[in-house]
């Protein structure tokens, strides 16, 4: 028990230091921000304390932080480039096992698996962020409109949502991902800035310009099947929230519906949506890996976790590392997001959080009492 508390104390101090740093950064840009937002800072600290009370949540946050870090800096710290094929220089690198030439072994082009995984972290992160950015706002807006206006509009939107939900999302995504690339490649080729931006996002070289359309197709395909879940939960929360008196008073002072939805209803229901987004990040990563495992999406030489596994299947029993390592990475990434999402559910729900906070305060008080007693004893 005391051991537990000791570790939590360390975690609390780490999170405090982190928030302190963040606040310091903001207050250097905006003078007086710290003084104005004292209660907000205290609330952040309490949120982290609440998160620190749940070990799985801390593990989740840790994993997610690592994967986001790898997603951003992975391609830069990778020892080799993803499009460097050692097999042309040294044929022994062909499927070389871990430790022989490279730490985690090599694939059938002799490429370093570690570098591929690091590059793949970027691909996976960018795809999941873009899918969430496209799918979630669409779902939220449709859900808000359906829930707020009700009646026929609600029926129409929700029945369309039901239609999308009734369709197996993976199959729909496969269909889209198979059909879209031709059209998208035209779009990408006609807008060079878009192509350049995407290349920069995925940390790819210019020569991969032609393969972008397939990546983009996968993202769009997933975004298309991703919104219905959000439309549903947003509508549900909106239905309860629009009955609230403050929504009625907002209407009574003459606010237009759009402003009521975005300024008053959305902020009040964002908590559960955020939890859902966090949980969904893992699902997006998994679905994306699944799609590229099926041969859609990333094409060699673009590194992608699902694709590495797909290429590895043909050499499986011998070159086991090509399947085990990427599979394990995907597993850890998805696990991280899910653990974090579960913990966030507790942290973002003010009622649940209060109960955790009170425990925090009690522990602190009893600590100070112990200290006092000790001091008295010393005297």
């Amino acid at each position: 028990m005391s051991q537990d508390e000791y570790y939590r104390g360390i975690l609390d101090r780490i999170s405090d230091a982190f928030i302190g740093l963040f606040v310091y950064l903001i207050s250097t840009i905006r003078k007086g921000w710290r003084e104005k937002n004292r209660s907000r800072i205290a609330e952040w600290k309490l949120m982290f304390y609440a998160l620190n009370r749940s070990p799985p949540g801390v593990i989740g946050l840790f994993l997610v932080t690592i994967f986001v870090f790898l997603g951003i800096f992975g391609p830069l710290i990778a020892p080799y480039k993803y499009n460097y094929f050692p097999i042309f220089e040294n044929s022994k690198t062909y499927l070389s096992p871990p430790g022989e030439f490279f730490v985690l072994g090599a694939d059938h082009f002799g490429r370093d698996l570690l570098s591929l995984l690091l590059q793949g972290a970027r691909t996976s992160l960018v795809i999941s962020i873009i899918v969430i950015l496209l799918g979630v706002p669409a779902g939220i807006i449709l859900g808000l409109i359906a829930g707020y206006f009700g009646g026929k509009i609600d029926e129409l939107i929700m029945r369309i949502t039901d239609m999308f939900l009734a369709f197996p999302p993976l199959i729909l995504a496969i269909a889209f991902a198979a059909v879209l690339p031709d059209r998208i490649s035209y779009l990408i080729n006609t807008y060079p800035p878009l192509q350049q931006f995407l290349l920069w996002l995925f940390a790819l070289e210019r020569t991969e310009g032609g393969n972008l359309s397939r990546l983009l197709a996968v993202m769009i395909a997933m975004a298309v099947v991703w919104w219905p879940g959000y439309a549903r939960i947003t509508r549900g929360s909106t239905l309860t929230e629009r009955e609230a008196l403050y929504v009625e008073s907002a209407r009574a002072i003459g606010l237009p519906s759009s402003k009521i939805m975005l300024r008053h209803i959305l902020p009040n229901i964002i908590g559960p949506i955020l939890v859902y987004v966090t949980l969904d990040f893992g699902t997006v990563v998994l679905t994306e890996a699944g799609l590229s495992f099926l041969g859609l999406g990333a094409t060699p030489p673009i590194a992608d976790w699902g694709r590495i596994v797909y290429d590895g299947t043909q050499f499986f029993p011998n070159a086991w590392w090509l399947i085990i390592f990427p599979g394990f990475i995907v597993f850890l990434d998805v696990l991280g997001w899910n653990l974090l999402g579960d913990a966030l559910r507790d942290v973002l729900d003010p009622k649940l959080r209060r109960s955790i906070e009170f425990k925090v305060k009690k522990v602190k008080k009893s600590k100070t009492k112990d200290m006092e007693i000790k001091e008295v004893e010393h005297e």
Partner: protein, 325 residues
Amino acid sequence: MSKKILEVKNLTVHFYTYAGIVKAIEEVSFDVFEGETFALVGETGCGKSVTARAITQLIESPGRIVRGEVYYNPDGERLNLLELPDEEIRTIRGNDIAYIFQDPQSSLDPLYNVGYQVSESLFVHGRVKSIKDGIKKAVNILRTVLLPDPERRVSNYPHELSGGMKQRVTIGIGISNDPRILIADEPTTALDVTVQAQILWLIKEMKKRYGVTVILITHDMGVVADMADRVAVMYAGKIVEVAEVTEVFKNPVHPYTQGLLKAVPNPLKKIERLETIPGTVPSLINPPSGCRFHPRCPEISKVCKEKIPELREVKKNHFVACHNR
């Protein structure tokens, strides 16, 4: 008598629920004169709030305004509020006709501070250039509604204020745009008695200062006696009696009004038990035929079951909907 600022004619609102059509209010008509306090009285569920909300089309689905006209007569114009498109009714809401709702605990958005919410209502009607600008004005508004220490309170969130303070803020939001009509929907129900008195005094004070017409919705006869100039008594979605306040209290004509007043404790008379009206409020899905009060009425006659009574003038400015008077 001064001019009519609001005329409500044959207002009918139905709610289309799974259980059936709830006829919340049926053929409600009344006039409100400029500068007076008009009280709508009745028990829970008789349609007072629905009437008030229907005036500016605030009825939400599944409810619908089936028919009726609401004329709003500001300086020489005559607007039918129920026919105005969404854009125009929005400029009326808050600006010309403002509301104060029942429960101050929930009528403020918990996520914004008080200053923002007052400022927002100014901003919507273009009284300030930005929400930030409006905060300064909000301080002044909160000072007029006697919120203590308004400079500090503007940055407080609703949960940091007491019920009475929140109601002051909602009144502040109500008067922020200098409305012609203030509709107070049971402004004191959620408050304790001393705070009730303060809030009622504040509404009176605002009325004196800004000359605003007040429509007061309440079930509290004490509040009515204290505040109102004229009273409309509602029962099961219909108005049964309209008269000056003294007239209603001294010579109630409709049996329902009489029963209602007998149910109010009188400190000057010593009685063993308060009288009650027998029976319960009828279901509004299948309201009683004829006069809606007839199943509970002590003076029922045959015509009551068959014909719907119309509002008739029994004395000057005293209207009653009853066959037997």
